[in-house]
């Protein structure tokens, strides 16, 4: 129990980091992509001209994206140590960037700083007259120096090495292995409709995005959108296989899908878990594989179909999405059974369909 609680705490810190990073990555990413699109429209050579509108837009985006690692490090440190974590967190993130330890370095650096600041606050006692120096001088100085040295001399090197070899490995992949890799990523993105497996895949893709590898991010898009689209197709193929309330859920799930929010399909998946998950994963596997093989890339981490025009090869992306959704829809329609009265009754007990042990919370105070 204690172990799983620690895990939750760590997960919370990472999620806090991501929640502060997301608006930055979306804003800067879209700005950069916008510059590229405008540049392509008015002539690709403008992208090379310093001071031209497309060039400046791309610059703004690039400068913004350069802050991702400091921001995630600072947010994680803030989540752990509150306000005193922010300043050293920004710096450790910047260091991680400089020594090419990147995204992973930023996350670990954030944890390092956060716990270090907490330890300093706990163990270092100063006379009352110097109390005022604690937050403005002692904590920042000590935490920055110690964590900076550790980052530079101890953990930075190995992380940079790991990161570079991972990227090298991804870039060297071709043909079949590329398809397989995309397929696995796509399946992960779909598998639990926005749950922990999806979030793990999502973090992996975001991390690579920061390093300038954009393929997995496109797979994330397709894997997140296929379930609502595929199920909608299946509904129109075989309406008699869906209950009234599933129809209602679908009305919300489909527009949510356009915005890349998968969770809308959960109520529909709940009644027929294996069949729905199975057919969605199948569709996403194929689509993810196609995306990696076709070289579709997404320079932004979120935004649903609205940002697809900013992708490399947007039409191929739409093709992969269409193929995957149709596979999901047809498979599901063939697999699903006709609705019976019992099924309609299933919807009534909506709130009591969960195993009691699955409801976990902590009580404090």
């Amino acid at each position: 129990m204690a172990k799983s609680k620690n895990f939750t705490v760590i997960k919370n810190h990472i999620l806090t980091g991501i929640s502060y990073m997301l608006p930055l990555i979306v804003g800067a990413g879209v700005c950069m992509a916008l510059g590229q699109v405008i540049g392509r429209l008015i002539g690709a050579e403008t992208l090379e001209i310093e001071g031209s509108l497309p060039w400046v837009l791309v610059q703004i985006g690039a400068w913004g994206l350069g802050l991702i690692v400091p921001v995630i490090a600072a947010a994680i440190a803030y989540s752990i140590a509150d306000k005193p974590g922010i300043a050293p967190g920004v710096i450790i993130g910047f260091i991680a960037n400089q020594i090419e330890a990147g995204f992973i370095g930023g996350i670990l650096g954030g944890f390092l700083v956060g716990y270090l600041v907490r330890a300093i606050m706990k163990y270092i006692k100063v006379p009352k007259s110097l109390q005022g120096l604690m937050p403005v001088m002692i904590i920042p100085l000590l935490s920055i120096t110690i964590s900076g040295l550790i980052m530079y001399f101890v953990i930075g090197g190995p992380i940079a090495y790991l990161q570079n070899s991972l990227i090298g490995f991804l870039e060297s992949m071709q043909g079949g292995s590329q398809f397989l890799f995309g397929g696995i990523l796509g399946s992960m993105a779909t598998f639990d409709f926005g749950g922990p497996v999806n979030k793990t895949m999502s973090m992996f893709a975001d991390g690579l995005l920061v390093e300038g590898v954009y393929g997995p991010e496109a797979v994330k898009f397709v894997g997140s959108i296929i379930p609502p689209f595929g199920i909608t197709i299946s509904y129109f193929l075989t309406k008699n296989k869906y209950t009234k309330s599933e129809k209602e859920s679908l009305k919300a799930a489909f527009p949510m899908g356009i915005a890349m929010i998968t969770e809308g399909v959960i109520p529909i998946a709940a009644r027929d878990l294996i069949k729905v998950v199975g057919s969605c994963v199948l569709g996403s596997f194929v689509a993810g594989g196609l995306i990696m093989t076709w070289g579709v890339e997404a320079p932004v981490p979120h935004g649903g179909l609205f940002v697809v025009p900013l992708f490399t090869n947007p039409w191929l992306f739409m093709a992969a999405l269409g193929i995957g959704s149709v596979i999901t829809g047809v498979t599901l329609s063939l697999w699903k059974k006709q609705v019976t009265e019992e099924d309609e009754a299933f919807d009534e007990m909506e709130s009591n369909s969960v195993d009691d042990d699955a409801i976990v919370f902590t009580v404090e105070g």
């Binding site: 919370n12 991501i18 997301l22 709130s351 009591n352 409801i359 976990v360 009580v363 404090e364």
Partner: protein, 105 residues
């Protein structure tokens, strides 16, 4: 019971608000009075008032991330739960909370 709550998810655009709605539905179904604040990417909405917090018997934090202003709930009984749990089974969650609290009393 009188309950106050905070809902906050990672992206802060969808689940935060679904969690708020479900939490209110679940609590009301069990006959409690509840106020829920959201801390999405847009910032704090439906901010809890001092009186609401003061008169509350229980604080429910349906949060996946660190939230702002947690010190407001000092010395209160706090239930901490992921947004997903509240969204999945709001009524069942409330029932289990009631059971847990009456045991630990």
């Amino acid at each position: 019971m009188k309950i106050v709550g905070v809902a906050a998810c990672t992206a802060g655009i969808a689940h935060t608000y679904i969690a708020r709605e479900k939490l209110m539905k679940g609590a009301q179904a069990r006959g409690h009075e509840i106020h829920v604040e959201t801390q999405g990417t847009i910032g704090i909405e439906n901010k809890l008032t001092q009186e609401q917090i003061q008169s509350a018997d229980l604080v429910i934090l349906a949060v996946d991330i660190k939230i702002g202003g947690e010190e407001r709930f000092k010395n209160k009984k706090i239930v901490r739960v992921p947004t997903a749990t509240v969204i999945k089974a709001p009524v069942q969650f409330m029932e289990k909370v009631e059971k847990e609290l009456s045991v630990s009393k």
